[in-house]
Symmetry: C2
Subunit: 610 residues, 2 copies
């Protein structure tokens, strides 16, 4: 099939528009309160070698993302786009390709077999193509939602970016099948919150937590553990900001980093710098789990709200810190040295409020389980009105950031705030959640939680590849459903989670036996994981388990720390009743889409000035 | 808020386009095999007085409906549109309005409070506005699907058309609330199938079945029953076509008509012409239930396929026919006389095949029940592979028309054909089904059913207004789920339906008792309706009942007539296993939508020639 090519006049006029639009962007970017150095404040390498580099910016007023894709070594073209979970099939793509004579840029999509098709509606709009000393730079934009059923909707939370390299000129776009290309994926939060950056205090000081001169192992995945310590007598401070320090040249290798504080009950911790799964790693390092800072690829600096800071130092807290660096090295590059880490910005002039972390979701217990072969099974954990009533200060708390957490089967996570039975707002939602990309995210809007409010955290799991039920627990093949909510002012409430009442779960096993041939042992000596392992999973037992979780009373953990409960009766509590739900977010169609061209654009590549 | 008005030049250019498009339609219409008299073959009155009259035509290639709305007595404007079930809230509207100076035509929508808003995307496109001797005639078009989330998607099956009358000029469109207007609804199948009309045989004869000179009662609803008889010795014929005869002037009153043949076991039936619910109506007329012909408002002639006809007359069949006319008279007009009826076209030269009617869906039994307060509870009835294997001819049968049937809680009905566990095609679907509008519909595509195929008929019920469970049965407050499939060649199979195994339903009642306080009597003397009446309906019992219906074995009725089964074991049959489902129909976005104007059009009303 021949690709229709627009006339030269059309192409010229498009190019004219593009330049005008780009100037508008530049001007708009410069009007921001804190003018960024570049109109594209966010940048990540797409491939392990960094030959494709994506920069982007978000216009919330236009509901549009502006992309700048740098192609360092252009062959015959590139594919770039998004898909649900990073697969190259059913992907929403832009393709730059050449037939040998001309170069084209078009909005395309791949079907479930990876076959590429030109999209009947062109929603990616090329604004500029320019040759620069670094490579070809493509500037284009895409509305968040296009109302084209073939198109991906750009939502809050994780976005799986995909790319592919075209090695040879093509007769036509339709000859591409993504299975034949060099391809890859990169996870990123595209829609960064558009929040104003709080001013730093005058007496701010910095501290670099780095693992110096690490020889990155020549294997795909390495978690590097490094112990460091605060100066002796380091008094109580507030961390007010932190930012990543990534060794130049290693941008594509450093996937995420976290700084943990060790437990105060131990006087000292041994020195260690090595892989976290090393047999040499001292056992005691497992007690360094209190998060001070966390960064993941694509994230910028993390700022605490002006009125709050994270306490560290001083009596009653450990001087020992553990830095964990995740190196992602799919090409198994050897001999690379790295000194990446995190730079903490802290102040001795304590801010008005301490920040705290509240753990929401499910208790780690096998009574919460997901049947095997499910594509989207939902489990919910509740922080009940009774707990928030008892444990939160009268003026409430303010959640400003959130880190979602599941194990390998997690696919979506959402926490919703409900008041008097009505769902009020989303605390954090990630419909393309990946357990491989768990970053602390600033919320677009601070969520205030008052005594009597309910917080419902729901996780969606995929167990298509499993033969037995997946039960809750600590193991990597068991599951969790957690939202670490970062909030202020810090309260005594550290953990507010739930699980189904174990007695009702036993009724479920009895019921399964009544509808099938008595396969589940309901005798006292059977453990819950054993019982789940013997359930015959059919449409009935699956649905009844889901219905049970949506109906049976719950045990609530309303705790000051992981072991100390608030006083009260927390067993066999009624499930919070929800009278009205929030509407599902439905993408708005971009108003601008009528202006988009009907076919691919012929690309005329200008020479850059730089 | 001021409505933006396009410049005169724009309006003029739009008008130019409109005339051109209209000419294209006229030409297209004339190219059809049997050129219709009008480019708008379908016509219905919208309001009881017939002051608004809608004509329309469907272009399947453009996926667009062309509407011609005749407004006989224009006041300050009209609203016309569509909504899910005929409500004026959440409706997709076009509005013709005047501010006293100019007239405007715009695409609008009403929110859940009935407040009217101009649509940001104008998908109704005005093609012509013309003053004719009969009134103002508006010609406009709308794609089936627009991809505008505010817009109604025009689908197969019932469409609820709504209208409203504007009495006074408006400052702005946004001042309209539909609750303050004279409004109404009309149900119709908009997307009439585009099938070629079979030629009638040379020896075709006609017979008019009419209730002559009926004085239409001055009440909203009347079902009129009229007994008529075939001539003595009337031999076996084939009905090949029938069409409505509606007395002129009563087009808005005659809602639907059906002709039934009486039971052959009675030698004669008494004469009667009167309301069907009259106390004077002879009891015996209840035995006149075999459908020969059915028509409803908006429908045109019904043609049998060229190779088939409906047998009537001859030995072994009753000479007596019952005509039923439903008069819908919301204004309670008195004194109107009517002689409407149905004209049968029949031939003595029998066609190759007899047509037959196969009853699909649920057995009329209380074991199939819908909990109260449900908004969309689905029950499914199965015609199993075992039954079709046994009862259908080796070459299969061909379904060419279908009449869907539920009682008052029915909201959707669909029948799907499955083969080897894969859903293959939809036999008939109505996602806006109304129990008040049950017409026989020609299928767009004849569906062939082979031995071993499975037919699944699913009905969606709304019981929001009910306090107790709704059980299956014959009563108007009990429910049915039936598809009368019209097919050829006629086979012995008259009925192929199912219901859940009663033993499994008892397990459900036991289970409910285990999770609640033993409220359901599971003793032998309790009837199923009594048991359902004592179920405590909560999220668990509701979902478990749904899961049971999707899992438990079924009793199959595979019958030659309503009382005579085919030989075989039909109890405790496994539910047909479905490995792959059909995709939900997702509306295609009209490719033409980029051409639509961004705001309302100023209407310049030309004088007609007629």
């Amino acid at each position: 099939m021949q690709v229709p090519s627009p006339s030269t006049r059309e192409a010229a006029s498009m190019y004219g528009t593009a330049v005008a639009v780009f100037l508008v962007i530049l001007v708009a970017a410069l009007q921001g309160s804190a003018p960024p150095k570049s109109p594209f404040p966010y940048r990540i390498p797409l491939d392990p070698e960094g030959t494709l580099e994506l920069s982007w910016n978000v216009s919330y007023t236009q509901e549009t993302v502006y992309f700048q894709l740098l192609v360092r070594e252009l062959k015959a073209g590139v594919l770039f786009g998004m898909s649900d979970r990073g697969e190259m099939e059913n992907a929403d793509l832009v393709v730059l390709w050449t037939d040998g004579d001309s170069a084209y840029f078009g909005d395309a999509w791949s079907d479930q077999k990876g076959q590429v098709h030109l999209d009947s509606q062109q929603d990616y709009q090329l604004l500029r193509a320019q040759r620069t000393p670094e490579g070809l730079s493509l500037l284009f934009k895409r509305p968040f939602g296009t109302c084209d059923p073939e198109d991906y909707v750009i939502e809050d939370g994780t976005v799986h970016l995909v790319y592919g390299i075209l090695e040879e000129p093509l007769r036509a776009l339709e000859t591409i099948n993504t299975s034949g290309l060099q391809t890859g994926l990169q996870r990123v939060q595209l829609l960064k919150p558009n929040i104003s950056i709080p001013a730093l205090p005058a007496d701010v000081r910095t501290m670099e937590i780095r693992a110096p001169d690490v020889l990155i192992p020549g294997q795909v995945t390495t978690y590097w553990c490094h112990i460091t310590e605060l100066p002796e007598g380091f008094s109580l401070h507030h961390i007010v900001m932190y930012e990543p320090i990534v060794t130049e040249g290693n941008e594509a290798l450093v996937h995420h980093m976290e700084v943990f504080q060790c437990a105060a009950e131990f006087q000292s911790f041994p020195q260690f710098s090595g892989p976290c799964d090393s047999k040499m790693k001292p056992e005691r390092l497992n007690y360094c789990r209190h998060v001070l800072a966390a960064w993941a690829l694509g994230a910028k600096a993390f700022y605490y709200p002006e009125e709050a800071g994270l306490a560290f130092g001083g009596p009653g807290s450990s001087r020992f810190l553990r830095l964990e660096v995740h190196y992602h090295n799919p090409l198994k590059i050897k001999g690379r040295r790295d000194s990446s880490g995190i730079r903490l910005y802290y102040t001795a002039t304590l801010r008005r409020f301490d920040a705290g972390i509240l753990e929401l979701g499910l208790v780690y217990t096998p009574v919460m389980a997901v049947p095997p072969q499910e594509t989207a099974f939902v489990l919910s954990g509740y922080c009940t009105d009774k707990c928030t009533q008892l444990a939160l200060p009268p003026s409430g708390i303010h959640i400003f950031a959130s880190q979602l957490h599941t194990h390998l089967a997690g696919r979506k996570v959402v926490t919703v705030l409900a008041r008097d039975g009505h769902e009020m707002e989303v605390v954090n939602r990630d419909d393309h959640y990946s357990p491989h990309f768990q970053e602390i995210r600033m919320l677009k809007k601070v969520v205030s939680v008052h005594p009597g409010d309910v917080l419902i955290t729901s996780c969606t799991y995929n167990t298509e590849d499993r033969k037995l039920a997946t039960v809750g627990g600590f193991g990597i093949l068991e599951e969790m459903c957690v939202n670490y909510a970062h909030y202020y002012p810090r309260s005594q409430l550290e953990l507010c989670k739930s699980a189904v009442d174990p007695g009702f779960l036993q009724k479920f096993f009895h019921l399964v036996n009544r509808f099938n041939s008595e396969e589940v042992c309901t005798c006292p000596q059977a453990s819950v994981p054993e019982q789940f392992a013997s359930v015959p999973w059919n449409s009935f037992s699956r649905q009844v388990l889901g219905a049970l979780y949506g109906f049976a009373p719950i045990s609530v953990h309303c705790n000051k720390s992981s072991a100390v409960r608030f006083q009260g009766e927390w067993d066999r509590q009624p499930l919070p009743e929800i009278i009205s739900k929030l509407e599902e977010p439905s993408p708005r169609c971009a108003a601008s889409r009528r202006q988009s061209p009907a076919g691919p654009a012929v690309v005329s590549i200008g020479e850059g000035e730089g």
